[in-house]
């Protein structure tokens, strides 16, 4: 998860999630950085609205609980 934590740290700090930035953060924590993982991370996050993604699953279950029952018989 280090890579994701690094990305969220950058996001929270209002910085862009670039390969360079992610690498810098990981290194500062003493992580031996794997370029491919950084690339994969940045690519995956490219089209994602992080703010939404953070809150989505976190908030959704509350709303989901009710329809869950309704959906069950379907």
């Amino acid at each position: 998860m280090e890579y994701i934590y690094a990305a969220l740290l950058l996001h929270n700090a209002g910085k862009e999630i670039t390969e360079e930035n992610v690498t810098a953060v990981l290194k500062s924590a003493g992580v031996e950085v794997q370029d491919a993982r950084v690339k994969a991370l940045v690519a995956a996050l490219e089209d994602v609205n992080i703010e939404e993604a953070i809150n989505r699953a976190a908030l959704a279950p509350v709303a989901a609980a009710a329809p869950a029952a309704a959906a069950a018989p379907a």
């Binding site: 998860m1 990305a7 969220l8 995956a44 989505r56």
Partner: protein, 294 residues
């Protein structure tokens, strides 16, 4: 004032003076209605209040005279006289006094002409009465009764008197036969004087359950603030970590960041999505293989 003094017999004068002293020596003065309280219960109440509050019974006219002689805002208590009033003196605060008096109340049978303090409900079910005129009495007050197994049985639950309505003689009779005691009997605090203000029962009744809920609510808010603003405290640091981890997982799963720690979550998500679509397809005629449904 001088006028009153001249016309009062000695014992009345003493009584008024005693009332005045009581008022002056206690921060809280309450007015209670003693009407309809049996003497035996008054004694019980006095005993229960001993050391906390003192009940001073007197004629309303003498209490009024004492209040008038003292004057000022305490005299406003007069407006809350009702029935046969008595004064109650205490060093407790008025809220505590109200609570104490509520606790001394007991349930009693209703007398004809009394006002129902709440809806009076007669529950359905068997009674111990043998068939007889009692069935007619029940029916006259609207309680449907039948005979079953040699006993009178009430067919359905009925509200015989609504809150605030007068309990008439017939109803009172039936209720007493059924052993239903709807009346709250005890010292009802009409008003309390404290530090220049008169408090009414509505102001004094505190809802402890509501207070506990507010405490819980405030605690939730504090918890939420601490976690949402990431202000670590001993109580919330675990939840804050949990939240950060959840957020990271959410982002990872949502974005498809294939990391070992969350790959199973991603698999699960994909599998659920597949199932949702599979079930939708099945509903429209696509046969699912058994494996899909496992």
């Amino acid at each position: 004032m001088a006028l009153y003094t001249h016309h009062l017999p000695r014992w009345k004068r003493d009584e008024v003076e005693e009332i005045k002293r009581g008022i002056q020596e206690h921060p809280v003065v309450g007015i209670v209605n003693m009407h309809g309280i049996p003497a035996s219960q008054v004694q019980d109440i006095r005993r229960n209040l001993r050391g906390t509050a003192r009940v001073k019974m007197s004629r309303n006219t003498l209490i009024e005279r004492a209040l008038n002689e003292l004057g000022g805002s305490v005299a406003d208590l007069k407006e809350h006289f009702e029935g046969q009033s008595a004064l109650i003196f205490t060093n407790e605060n008025p809220f505590r006094l109200f609570k104490l008096l509520e606790q001394t109340k007991t349930k009693m049978a209703a007398k004809p002409g009394e006002i129902a303090p709440e809806d009076i409900v007669v529950p359905k079910g068997p009674t111990t009465f043998k068939p007889g005129p009692i069935v007619g009495e029940f029916q006259q007050v609207g309680i449907p009764a039948v005979i079953e197994g040699g006993k009178v049985k009430i067919r359905e639950t009925k509200t015989v008197v609504k809150k605030g309505e007068v309990i008439n003689r017939k109803v009172a009779g039936v209720l007493s036969k059924l052993g239903i005691k709807p009346m709250d009997v005890g010292l009802a605090l009409q008003a309390a004087y404290y530090r220049g203000s008169v408090f009414t029962p509505e102001m004094l009744a505190i809802d402890e359950e509501a207070c506990a809920k507010k405490i819980a609510f405030a605690a939730s808010q504090a918890f939420n603030l601490s976690v949402n603003a990431a202000i670590p405290t001993r109580l919330t640091i675990g939840a804050i970590i949990g939240r950060a981890v959840s957020e990271a997982r959410n982002v990872g799963v949502e974005a498809g960041v294939y990391e070992k720690d969350i790959i199973d979550l991603i698999i699960g998500r994909a599998r659920r999505e597949m199932l949702a679509v599979a079930l939708a397809a099945q509903a429209r005629g696509f046969d699912l293989d058994e494996e899909t449904l496992k």
